[in-house]
């Protein structure tokens, strides 16, 4: 593996990182997902050398760099707030890392022009950072780091300060960098970025990693209520699980019973159902699903992933369907409809 973070802990006043461990393989696009204040930036800073951990080790390409000086680590870090050098031109910012490199001046100029071209800022070389837009700045600081050809690229919330269009432009850029072989460790609070860019995801909460795996593993099998909530699963309810005669039911607070298949016999916890797993019909159909309920449509909301249909079926359920389906079934607020989902689509997380 290229980067191995082993049991890193760091105490900073009221916040602490606890026993953080994960590894990044060459070619990974690794996403560290967590809310603001969860410790993601601290993790990046210890890897880059801006902070030294209280305990634990960091190995990069087999070398222990835990206490290595920042300038010797050769790890590219792109800060959230850019940290562009205001008194230098774009070209000088880009070439900053090339000082002392054993290449000729013309070669340096070539590299600067090449990277500026790749990033779409070739026209801005003589300008100063003060006159650049947010998106241009972001690309400049990315270029400034990439010009050193770092083994691993650390990104701290690179898309957060951008508007939607720029965000998708930059996302495309990052994807192509990855496709061209760049290993990336990307830190964010946005689970959409994790889904669309990551090859591996680790969720960090209150200073510890609570789940890691491929994006599918994390999003389809969230290991805790926090992860479920964070990754946007909308159907989750406190529930009590009971099993009798090999049949399990989860009872929500108002005694609504959901049939579930699980190897946990009983207990208090949460029930999760993904919106994509809920089927709708406008007539009571016989299906193989064991959970079939009649309900009333409360609201229909369009979003980036489809249409969220909110139904009161005794509990409030969110079904994610295509806009066509809404049309086909003639769904609208107030209409009666039926919800169907399999017992195997229901997950129980024990408290």
């Amino acid at each position: 593996m290229m980067l191995e973070v082993r049991r890193v802990s760091k105490s900073l006043g009221s916040f602490s990182l606890r026993d953080v461990s994960f590894s990044v393989e060459k070619g990974d696009y690794f996403i560290l997902l967590g809310e603001s204040g969860a410790g993601k930036s601290v993790v990046l800073e210890t890897i880059a050398g801006l902070m030294v951990p209280d305990s634990g080790t960091i190995h990069y390409n087999g070398r222990d760099i835990t206490r290595e000086k920042i300038q010797n680590r050769r790890i590219g870090l792109v800060f959230q707030d850019h940290a562009a050098f205001p008194h230098l031109t774009v070209a000088e910012n880009l070439s900053y890392a090339l000082y002392g490199a054993l290449i000729s001046k013309s070669e340096k100029d070539e590299r600067v022009k090449a990277i500026a071209g790749e990033l779409g800022i070739g026209e801005l070389l003589a300008r100063k950072p003060g006159s650049l837009s947010g998106g241009e700045l972001q690309r400049m600081v990315l270029g400034r780091t990439l010009i050193q050809k770092p083994g691993i690229l650390l990104l701290d919330e690179p898309l957060s300060s951008l508007d939607t269009r720029l965000r998708s432009d930059l996302r495309t850029l990052l994807r192509s960098l990855h496709r061209n072989g760049q290993t990336i460790l990307h830190v964010t609070h946005d689970y959409e970025e994790a889904l669309t860019l990551g090859t591996r995801v680790a969720v960090i909460h209150q200073g510890s990693i609570i789940q890691s795996g491929t994006p599918s593993e994390v999003f389809q099998r969230p290991a805790s209520e926090f992860v479920a909530h964070f990754v946007g699963v909308k159907n989750y309810f406190p529930a009590k699980l009971e099993t009798s005669n090999n049949t399990s039911y989860a009872f929500t607070d108002n005694n609504f019973a959901v049939r579930i298949v699980t190897d946990i016999p009983s207990g208090e916890g949460f029930v999760l159902i993904r919106g994509e797993d809920i089927l709708l019909s406008d007539t009571p159909v016989e299906t193989s699903a064991t959970n079939n309920f009649q309900g009333t449509v409360l609201e229909i909301i369009n979003n980036a992933y489809g249409t969220d249909v909110i139904i009161d079926a005794g509990i409030e359920l969110h079904a994610l369907v295509t806009p066509d389906s809404v049309e086909k079934l003639g769904l609208r607020a107030g209409k009666t409809c039926w919800v169907h989902f399999k017992a195997t689509a229901v997950k129980f997380i024990k408290r």
Binding site: Q71, L77, A83, H87, Y96, R144
Partner: protein, 235 residues
């Protein structure tokens, strides 16, 4: 004072070799003192801006000392460092240099009382440079040395230049500390005093007026140059 002195008197005074030599001496000793001591003062200001260490408050207090103590007392304190019996004085005599009564001693005295202005201005300048930028430079492989010269210094330059001008100005106007260390050769503040004491107001006044005019011109030019330079850097 200006009204009582005619331009002719000022002109005549300017022609006196003693006066011209004195003014020139004042200018170059203060300049030399400023430049020589800035080499140590500026890095010191950087350390004060960035590092925390146990005795920091005491060190900051000591740095401000020359501004608050009486100038003649400062001069006496300096004599302890530069007189022929002191370590520095002995080192000086090896190269035939005696600080007491020598322009070098004058420069040291001027620098001593005015260095706090440079240190404080430089420290403010460095404090205003975001640490983030220095760290970013480090992640790009620059040594701390290179970071200082390519990032910290340029971004703090406006304040540092201001501090240098202030130190130069303050040095040029010093009297008390200088007369203790080196009454001769006479810098202009001393010359004015001596003429006043020996010959009276009428003889001293033209020198004072001339010196004030020259100082004024010098600093207006410096401020103007500083403004040009620093607005370039800031942009």
């Amino acid at each position: 004072m200006f009204l009582n002195t005619t331009p002719l008197q000022v002109f005549e005074t300017a022609r006196e070799a003693e006066v011209r030599d004195s003014i020139w001496l004042t200018i170059y000793t203060s300049l030399a003192g400023t430049l020589v001591f800035s080499v140590a003062a500026i890095p010191l200001a950087y350390i004060l801006a960035r590092k925390q260490f146990p005795m920091k408050k005491i060190v900051t207090g000591i740095i401000d000392l020359p501004v608050v103590i009486p100038h003649s007392a400062a001069g006496i304190a300096l004599l302890g460092f530069v007189s022929r019996e002191s370590a520095l004085g002995k080192a000086g005599s090896v190269v035939g240099l005696d600080f007491v009564g020598h322009p070098a001693g004058i420069a040291i005295a001027m620098a001593f009382v005015s260095i706090p202005f440079l240190i404080n201005a430089a420290r403010d300048g460095f404090s205003g440079v975001p640490v983030r930028l220095e760290k970013a430079a480090l992640t790009l492989g620059a040594s701390p040395f290179r970071v200082f010269f390519t990032i910290s210094l340029p971004l703090a330059w406006r304040n540092i230049l201001s501090g240098l001008i202030l130190m130069f100005a303050r040095g040029m106007s010093e009297f008390g500390a200088v007369i203790v260390v080196a009454y001769h050769p006479m810098i202009t503040p001393v010359l004015i005093y001596e003429r006043f004491g020996s010959f009276g107001l009428k003889y001293a006044r033209p020198v004072a007026v001339l010196f004030i005019l020259i100082s004024l011109a010098l600093f207006v030019v410096l401020r103007w140059v500083a403004k040009e330079k620093s607005s370039e850097v800031a942009r």
